[in-house]
């Protein structure tokens, strides 16, 4: 208690932790991230020992290329999950954006404009999601499930169920080869990961997202505009899904109503694998990126080992289950790590958030 009062307020984050200090929390988080990296590394070692083709530059390119779309969706999903919700409608926004992007490009709309239009589409969908969830008070599961159905249905309706191939290959510019032979969209994902990390870690918006997921009521009491923030998170998530749809269409040179059908569950899985908690308030973009790479490496390695797709599905489920078990274990262990500063946190949190918000 005396420790708290003697600490200068400006040096505290919203959690009341002295910024820049090595704390039990940051140590725990570091262990968690390094644990994930260790798991990814172990997976890589197993596949490298089992298949001569795994440790090749071309294969790493393949892993990154096939993981990129999920990576984009999962970054948006990370924000939604940290904020205490989740977004199933991404699996409808992806195909809708993919077909509309193909159609607008074919209609002669310049590529940058077409991409911006799809981002705007994502923003509108996210705005509706956010308003329905925050203002009307409908559960995110129901609201985003309904939006999944609506957007997915539109994707089939506007195309009458057929795929829409690009008339001009330049519309697939995001899948063109970039530096190091990696497609442009892989670099785009790398950039988005960095931006996501910076936003969550160093901006007021990011910290408010954590606060919102940690406790909606406490955030409200601290002066956070809870409804607006919730809406902003869903707008961001849907925009990322729309971007994923554009990237996927660029990669395949066509849009289709049945693209990205498993994106909702896979993106949630990637966030959880990366240390996110469906209870909200916990998760990082770095962790999610590692989670995406774990899923991508697993699919790639199993394909190289010629493991039947049936077993691949089982293996993915087992890994996810292990990750959730790990998450529970972490939740059980966390209080021990946090105990040291628990009083410090409880007394200082509201004040620090209020200060940062104002």
């Amino acid at each position: 208690m005396t420790q708290t009062s003697s600490m200068p307020a400006k040096r505290h984050s919203y959690l009341g932790l002295p910024t820049g200090w090595v704390t039990p929390q940051s140590l725990f988080r570091a262990l968690e991230i390094s644990g994930l990296f260790t798991f990814l590394l172990a997976l890589g070692v197993v596949f490298a020992l089992s298949s001569g083709q795994f440790l090749t530059a071309s294969n790493f390119r393949a892993i990154l290329t096939t993981s990129a779309v999920l990576g984009i969706v999962a970054i948006g999903q990370t924000f939604a999950i940290i904020a205490g919700g989740f977004d199933l409608s991404v699996a409808g926004v992806i195909p809708l954006a993919s077909v509309l992007y193909a159609m607008t490009s074919n209609a002669g709309v310049p590529t940058p404009l077409a991409i911006l239009a799809m981002l705007a589409l994502g923003a509108v969908v996210g705005l509706i999601n956010g308003l329905v969830i925050s203002r009307v008070g409908i559960d995110p599961l129901i609201a985003t499930l309904a939006m999944l159905s609506i957007t997915g249905g539109f994707a089939f309706t506007v195309t009458n169920g057929v795929s829409v191939p690009f008339d001009h290959d330049y519309a697939g510019v995001l899948a063109d080869s970039g530096p190091l032979g990696l497609p442009v969209h892989v670099w785009l994902v790398a950039g988005l990961v960095i931006v996501g990390v910076l936003v969550l870690r160093y901006t007021v918006f990011g910290r408010m997202v954590y606060a919102l997921g940690g406790s909606r009521e406490a955030s409200w009491l601290a002066g956070v505009r809870v409804s607006g923030l919730t809406t902003a998170v869903y707008v961001l998530c849907s925009m990322m899904a729309a971007l994923a749809g554009v990237v996927l269409a660029s990669e395949l040179l066509s849009g289709s109503g049945n693209l990205g059908t498993d994106a909702a569950l896979n993106s949630v899985a990637a966030v959880v694998l990366g240390g996110g908690s469906l209870a909200g308030g916990v998760g990082t973009v770095w962790g999610t990126a590692v989670g995406v790479l774990i899923l991508g490496t697993l699919a790639n390695g199993m394909a190289l080992l010629q493991i039947s797709s049936f077993y691949q599905t089982i293996a993915t489920g087992v890994v996810l289950l292990l990750a959730v078990a790990f998450s529970r274990l972490r939740a059980a262990l966390a209080p021990r790590f946090y105990r040291v500063t628990s009083e410090f946190i409880s007394e200082d949190t509201a004040a620090a958030v209020t200060e940062e918000v104002t």
Partner: protein, 409 residues
Amino acid sequence: MRIRPRIKWLQVAAAVFALSVIVSACAGSSGSPGASNSGSPHKTLKIDFANINDESAFFHSVTQGMKDAEKTIGSDVKVRYYDNKSDGNTTLQNARLMVNDHPDLIIEFYGTEAVAKSAERLFKDANIPCITVNVPGAGGCTWYDLYNPSLCGQTGTAMGKIAAEKGWNGSNTAVILVAAASFGPEINTCQGYYYEELQKYVPGITKISSYKDITLSTTRVGSTTYQVNGDGLLDKTFNSVTNVLQAIPSSKHLIVYPIGDDMAIGAWRALDQANRGSNSIIAGLGGDPRTLVQLRTNPSWVAEGDIFISHWGELLLPMAKAILEHRTTPALTTSPLAVLTKNLTVPNTLIAPMSNFYKGSETNATELPPLVPVKDGDLPGLDKQGPVGNDYLGAIDWLRKFGNVSGLS
């Protein structure tokens, strides 16, 4: 005071309504076109058709083709349409609705075989003959389908001949088969039939003794052949093929066969992105307009298994008439089939240039392949043999009205 008269009026109104419902129901039950015309020389056959999924343009073309066929045949037939929405419950609900409609015959395009037993029991109990499309069903209906041994097998023949002409063999070539696990085992016999024929023409690739050696769990056949699952989806196929390409040295030629056109497009994109398109040959299955364009313009796209799905109505309605006339039908009535190529022709097979069926840059067939004589063959998915073919339809006058079947005047 004023309530009692109102109740009386309501009672009278309810009684009149109930009576009118009963009367109209009785009229409806005997009011089918077939029944109303009984005794007259001209009888309109009443047929109920449930399509697998009308939201899909590919499958909706069956409904559209059926409507076109109904129009061509004229007043001899009246079809009522249902949409199974690729859903078991909807299929069963539609089956009940169709039974209540008392048609002369039901045509059922299943999305899932799981409901076949229940649906066909309903048809049997109502004593309504039926045709099952796409899957053998539970045995209660007459079966109409494409024929994997011919279509997939002869695609193997065409691609095998093309690969052999290029000098490709087991030492310099790998084969990638793309399955669709979610389509079920009957449809996925295609890869086995394909490979069984392909191996006859490409020396040195790993041999199989029967098409059954390649199942949905197969991922590798010896050192030359790989199978991945694309699940019928464009993006999933792209990822699966991208991954498996890492296991195949870039010096190898590739023979790629996905058993559906969406998957073929996804596989081609993966080959192209890996800069391996020019060293590959690929074929699709379905006759989708996009893949017909590929066959015309892409040097690596060497064949396309065409099932002429938008023309199925032309054969299904005459088949219905044949059943109602108590003609002998084979265990499997086959759809029109052709293995389209750029210019390869193999006599006495389905393999023929696409220009035989499609004019100019058209993607709608103007000519259908000839009818196929009925003879014993494998019944895919039933693991037995039986009569297969469709030439008995040539005797049905309805089919002749279309004037587009090769060899049928």
